[in-house]
Amino acid sequence: DVKVTQSSRYLVKRTGEKVFLECVQDMDHENMFWYRQDPGLGLRLIYFSYDVKMKEKGDIPEGYSVSREKKERFSLILESASTNQTSMYLCASSLLSTATEAFFGQGTRLTVV
């Protein structure tokens, strides 16, 4: 089975902190994604990557950055956490073809206080 693992299920951080969310996949997928999920807004794409060291902005990249130094690992960085970044963050991976389904991690619920 494909496994996408996010490093934390729950995180509580203070305003202004630099926050790292880590994601690892074990199926040699080319694509990796970071979404945030908010009630009534569905999933919104923050960043994605289709190869090592490559990154593309999604729909809501402001306030975030990403890093992909190895194929299996995709990190989301909140440069200076703010309360409006309190959300559920979901990592996903997929093969390069858009005809294939994405596999999701279990999610990280981040609270910024």
Partner: protein
Amino acid sequence: AQSVAQPEDQVNVAEGNPLTVKCTYSVSGNPYLFWYVQYPNRGLQFLLKYITGDNLVKGSYGFEAEFNKSQTSFHLKKPSALVSDSALYFCAVTNSGYSTLTFGKGTMLLVSP
């Protein structure tokens, strides 16, 4: 730009009755359509997809979906609902020219005993 509409925030059905969760989409070119399910405090799980071929697609847990090109719809269906089907359901779309999925806002399905 591509988009997905899930017109119902919530669908209520009684156990044993058929269920339908609606989805309409907008995309240029040929659509690739997906349904995902999310149980509480979990990531998304893939249910089924339409890429090409038969308009009726069968997926996991007895779910199916019907692709209707003229109505740009991809409704999720199940002949007999179970209480355990209660969850949040997401429809998503892309096409061969994109590498990312666009998700709807989700529909909460509640199946009563």
